[in-house]
């Protein structure tokens, strides 16, 4: 059954090559059809992999170069349910945004679809691979295709700014990842994650291992857009064309957090695992900072796409907290959150795309009351806003409750209120925009909000010819999937169980290198969100509604205070500043790691 594994990646890549070769001779609609069919097939494969890997990981060695005497020669894909679940999310989002993109890029032929399929294949490879250098190659492939896709509507300076900041910052992040890989290879002579983990286990971390740990984690944090490495993200996601932005916000940056979980548990949990408190402190600290800074900045945006970019950053912080708890519950919650939240963010971005196509602007203040004719989009906005604010009992609520309960059990009772504050801020931002655009509430001007000059008028391409159903069906489907995820029977228990397997390094090593099936772990107790979780969920949703209501009050005192001005001023748009922040952040993280992990 492992034959399915490479197919999930090969299918989009081969289709991309075929479209490049033959696209010019085909009917203009054929590239749309091929791309949609491939993305749908990839989704089916990924969902099958989730089920096939539910008992033990699927290990596939390319070219049948399986390990001899415990030494891996070839490159392996190691598929577990969490990675396959993320691959399924990639497939679903890709299919939805390709349906939305039907006739979107009429004048550019097949190039968009080729880039898009390479991008999808690379992200899938990144989620499934079991080899560190292979991870870097997918990382670079998805990044390069993402830079190109981000700069697709290159006519405007803001698009150039976004794409350049994206390309430069992420390239530096990738260089750090590569340097970390080189150091680990120099120490162990291995590149396979299982082999690395085996070689590093049993000895406490020395300077070289800590430097490699810092380089890899920071490199992936840059990709993930954690504070203070997040500046590129708010510029890039705000200018990407809608079908691309769906995948950017829905899954691209969050793959960085998955990668951190992967390298920690497979590689570093041996040498660094002696200091779980220090690792928790570092990761949770960055996570909380990211969630709060992202949440506040999200609430201050009038540009819908930039609002979504900061929402992605804020919720990424919550995923990082889940990963950083270093517990099965935290990792399971984080992964479920990533999937439910990714679906809702994708849906919301598609709804924003509809607003752009129909009303030719993405500025919340300018759009005040103009969305009254777009009732279905308004409903999607509202449903996603409440879902993202963790309204019980829907998808993100269940995931957030897993993280919060895990935190409380570890004695971090102060975490749930902070995470709830972040979801109140982001949920309120979406609900405020919903009220203003679709109901005409609130004033038409607000000094608190940042407006962007230069409207993204290119989104109206092909507008009049495109039918509402084609635009609306993907958004509604993603909303329903994201909200309904919590109703899948036993999904919390199962993912906690799979997360426990994910965190079992010795079992993973035996499985990959010796082909031994992992001994079945004891089943986790059935998960029911506690009363506290229900209260936090309700507080988050009600708080978001209340805060949105306050923000829409016609005459309120201006809240523009000095700290907000300073926070906004940090997001200067200048690449030099961003790289300086990256350097400062790396030095701080590295210094703390050197102090705490010895």
């Amino acid at each position: 059954m492992t034959a399915l594994v490479p197919l999930a990646v090969a299918l989009p890549l081969v289709a991309a090559a075929a479209l490049t070769a033959f696209g010019h001779f085909m009917h203009p609609r054929a590239d749309d059809l091929v791309a949609i069919a491939v993305a749908a097939a990839m989704t089916v494969i990924a969902v099958l992999l989730v089920f096939r890997s539910s008992r033990h990981d699927l290990v596939y060695w390319f070219g049948a170069w399986s390990p001899r005497h415990g030494i891996g020669i070839g490159v392996s894909f190691t598929v577990d349910p969490l990675g396959a679940g993320i691959a399924a999310l990639i497939g679903v989002l890709a299919t939805a945004s390709l349906v939305f993109a039907w006739r979107y890029f009429d004048d550019v032929g097949t190039l968009f679809h080729v880039l898009f399929l390479i991008f999808v294949g690379a992200m899938t490879g990144f989620a499934l691979t079991g080899d560190l250098f292979n991870m870097f190659v997918w990382f670079e492939l998805m990044s390069v295709s993402a830079y190109a896709l981000c700069g697709y509507l290159v006519e405007q300076p803001r698009v150039l700014q976004g794409a350049l900041n994206f390309a430069i910052t992420n390239s530096i992040g990738a260089l750090m990842v590569l340097a970390g890989i080189a150091l680990l290879y120099g120490r162990t002579g291995a590149l396979n994650l299982a082999e690395l983990g085996k070689a590093l286990a049993g000895r406490p971390a020395d300077g070289l291992v800590i430097v490699a740990f810092v380089l890899l984690v920071v490199g992936f944090l840059v990709k993930a857009g954690a504070v203070p490495f997040h500046f590129w993200l708010s510029d890039a996601y705000a200018v990407a064309p809608t079908p691309v932005a769906v995948l950017f916000a829905g899954v691209l940056s969050d793959l960085g957090f998955h990668a951190i979980a992967r390298i920690y548990w497979d590689v570093f949990s041996g040498p660094v695992g002696a200091h779980p408190g220090a690792v928790r402190g570092l990761l949770i600290g960055i996570g909380v900072l990211t969630a709060l800074v992202g949440g506040v900045m999200c609430f201050l945006q009038a540009d819908l796409k930039r609002l979504m970019a900061f929402l992605t950053i804020a919720h990424g912080g919550i995923f990082l907290v889940g990963v950083g708890l270093l517990t099965p519950g935290g990792l399971a919650g984080s992964t479920l959150y990533l999937i439910a939240d990714g679906l809702l963010k994708g849906a919301l971005f598609l709804a924003i795309g509809i607003v752009l196509v129909r009303l030719h602007s993405g500025d919340e203040l300018w759009l005040r009351g103009k969305g009254r004719s777009l009732v279905p989009s308004g409903i999607v906005f509202c449903a996603c806003g409440l879902g993202l604010a963790a309204l019980p009992p829907f998808g993100p609520f269940l995931a957030k409750s897993l993280i919060e309960e895990s935190a409380v059990r570890l004695g971090y009772g102060w975490l749930p209120p902070l995470l709830t504050l972040a979801t109140i801020l982001t949920g309120a931002a979406v609900l405020r925009a919903t009220g203003r655009i679709f109901l005409g509430l609130g004033p038409g001007d607000d000094p608190l909000l940042t407006r962007q000059t230069g409207l993204p008028d290119d989104e109206e391409r092909g507008g009049p010819r495109r039918r509402s159903t084609v635009l609306l069906v993907p958004a509604v489907t993603l909303t329903v999937l994201g909200l309904a995820l919590s109703f899948v029977p036993q999904i919390a228990d199962r993912s906690t169980h799979h997360a426990a397997r994910f965190e079992d390094r010795t079992g993973y090593v035996a499985e990959v290198l010796a082909g031994k099936e992992q001994a079945p772990l004891p089943r986790a107790a059935a998960h029911h969100p506690t009363t506290g979780s229900w209260l936090y969920g309700a507080a988050s949703a009600l708080g978001a509604l209340g805060l949105a209501g306050v923000a829409l009050r016609p005459r309120r005192r201006s809240l523009v205070v000095a700290p907000i001005r300073v926070l906004k001023a940090f997001h200067s748009g200048a690449i030099g500043d961003y790289v300086t922040w990256l350097t400062v952040g790396t030095a701080t993280f590295g210094g703390l790691a050197a102090l705490l992990l010895r």
């Binding site: 830079y147 700014q161 350049l164 390309a167 430069i168 080189a182 290879y185 705000a238 201050l300």
Partner: protein, 114 residues
């Protein structure tokens, strides 16, 4: 094995980073990024180097001869390919910036803020 290659790799990374931070021209910036990328080539090759080792081509050399690690050379080659793609893309964006916005100064391209 001397520490010089590692020091060189670190120096290239830092000097390239300084160039990226202070750059006022996109082509200059792309080349500074290229300098940073070179640091990883040096690092990788230094890690695989063995004193008095020869090229890892086994045809025509005596059995048991000392060779340098071929794996890092493959990694470096992959890295070169990736780096060239990135730099090419940034240069293409630089040309677009000059053509459409009339400037290649990254700071003057700034539209999105706050």
């Amino acid at each position: 094995m001397s520490y010089a290659p590692y020091a060189l790799a670190g120096w290239l990374f830092v000097i390239g980073l300084y160039g990226v931070v202070t750059s006022r021209h996109l082509i200059h910036l792309a080349l500074c990024l290229n300098v940073m990328q070179s640091s990883t080539y040096v690092l990788l090759l230094a890690i695989g180097y063995r004193n008095r080792g020869t090229a890892p081509i086994y045809k025509g050399i005596k059995g048991g001869a000392r060779v340098v690690d071929p794996v890092v050379q493959a990694l470096t080659l992959t890295d070169v390919v990736v780096s060239v793609t990135v730099v090419a893309l940034i240069l293409a964006l630089a040309m677009d910036a000059r053509r459409r916005a009339g400037t290649a100064d990254p700071d003057r391209l700034v539209e999105l803020q706050g």
